[in-house]
Amino acid sequence: MTGLPPRASFDRETVAKAESGTREAVSSGPSSPDPWARLRNATRARIGLGRTGDTQITRDVLAFQGCHAGARDAVHAALDPARLAAAIRNASPLCPEPLVVSSQASDRATYLRRPDLGRRLCRSARAVLPRERWDLVLVLADGLSPRAVETQGPALFSAVCEALPGWRIAPPVIALQGRVAIGDEIAETMGAAFVAVLIGERPGLSVHDSMGVYLTYRPVSGTPDSRRNCLSNIHAHGLAIPEACAKLVWLLNEARRLQTTGVALKDRAPSLAPSSVSSAASSFPTSSSPSPSPETPHDD
């Protein structure tokens, strides 16, 4: 590292300090209570990490790696359509056999690089989708966390079917390497008035199996996100299935009355439905934007 300011000895001292053991590590150990512990009730942020030299103690470095590994594995896990179909049938014994389709993204690497392909239905898929006058089709897509839809999808599907007795609900569609917009083409092909896409959200460090639901009225290919409503953070420590179902049913009934989904529906939602209902209209996908926040997750 030539040309850097002359502080090389500083670096060596840092290393020496690290090697000599750390007061900080001892003070945060079990023998003396961690003064940050009670502050963790107010935030899940990784505050008060153990310090050694200029960096973190081994325990905290490895804890972070463990969380990241879980998130990475969740992204790259494959959705097993047979297992998911069996789980759906198990949760909803009267439901017709789930249909399985793929997007045009042939594998995970393509899926991650080419969101456009994940939004389009594979050519051969149209043949397996029966066209009738359905009120609603539910699509279960792997998205960025196949485990999320495996874990939360069957129960929510079952709850929604039970909560909408008068509705003509299409057989569930399992979409592999799918993004939200793949539901538009599925619903268009099947002739469904509504599509609800149940999809794995991008895993975070602490939650790897969070599911989102995107609802669209009269979907067609190219529907803008501003015409969708979304529920997010459906997982064991987030929005529970009965609550998510109630919100989705509220949205469906309101949307049927208003003949629309999206921003117009969101604006009515706050007094009647809690804050996890939002329009899917994304602003800008940088850190200035709330789009990846729990309120408006995005899979694409």
Binding site: P5, R7, L49, D54, T55, F284, T286, S288
Partner: protein
Amino acid sequence: MILAATLSGERFVFRDLRHLLAAASPLRSGDQLAGLAAVSQTERVAARIALADLPLQTFLEHQVIPYEADDVTRLILDTHDAGAFAPVGHMTVGAFRDWLLAHETDGVSLRAVAPGLTPEMVAAVSKIMRNQDLIAVSRKIEIVTRFRNTIGQHGVLASRLQPNHPTDDLKGIAISTLDGLLYGCGDAVIGINPASDSVENGLALLDMLETLRITYDIPTQSCVLTHVTNTIEIINRGGPVDLVFQSIAGTQKANEGFGVTLGILAEAHDAARALGRGTCGQNVMYFETGQGAALSADAHHGVDQQTVETRAYAVARAFDPLLVNTVVGFIGPEYLYDGKQILRAGLEDHFCAKLLGVPMGCDVCYTNHAEADQDDMDALMLLLGAAGVTFLIGVPGADDIMLNYQSLAFSDILTTRAILGLRPAPEFAQWLERMALYDPQTARMQAPALPDTPLSRMIGWDS
């Protein structure tokens, strides 16, 4: 204008400047997604050979996005300084690279030429520069900005303390702020991405940061990163606004996608300056940018993502910002696929901004669906430190629990400062010393136990 080169016995012809610039760009997924990437490595290098022979003057005569169609193009050409351009006006892109790297070309001459450079010239030369070239030229350039402290000097690495919380819980945010201050972070800004974008919420967050700042006499500035129109309203309602934040991009259409125009930015700039809250200077704007922003808004006009990103810096420099940062790995793997692409883009963004005269920092970061990890971030933060980056962003333990992505930990910024011998902003460094957080004898940050620092009262430690 014939744009062509022969390499390995094959002749490559490029349709226009956009095609040439895109083909010359180092490989990245966003250009592949847009269908703009070179079709082969050989074509890519042939494009660079053709680009190196192109006179810089060409970029004044041919626009990648038409003047009539785009207000960013108009801004670029209408503010071009022909006098400043003169010393390099006769050069090709290749000769310009050699001039940038020459010992005789010092920081003063680079600052002097900046008003004569357009983003397209700067993007073009970056495409024929290796990573080490981008670093070597960047570190010559000193862009000093001021509000309540002074940042950007040689030897100074400032930091944004980013204490986000998923429900904007004031105590949670204060705790994360304390955590960052104990590492010596927060001199660039204490900046919150709010979970809720309402004006009331923004006011509450700003009031809280203002109280902390005044109580502990912290020589820094605060910011709630809400939409510029919200900030204007907060100013109108008497809120304590130090910096106006906005995400910006390199085309009119992409900026419209953010709900901003150059006119709105000018209005906000005037409103914040009129408050006169800076004690060292009046740089009041804070912008974020990032490769992929224009494409994701379908507003790239067939221009490659690195060139269109560089055009955003022309927008930034029109408003004398205190801070600008690229959110390099945030926008996702469909734009920058892996650690190699993120690292390259971070160095490009920093170089291009600095060469245009913009005080560039970086959110060294990635998402969980990118092929990257903290080792990639270590490499980028240290290379940017060596390149003289204005500031880096730190969050508790590198884990942003609101935006759900990984940035740097506060300790990473401490490590970068220590390894490279960089210091916080001088006014902030003196404050750290007064707070007994910095020991001038050993030139090290102290790590006091929570009960032993008076700062812990900011979170009600003794109550």
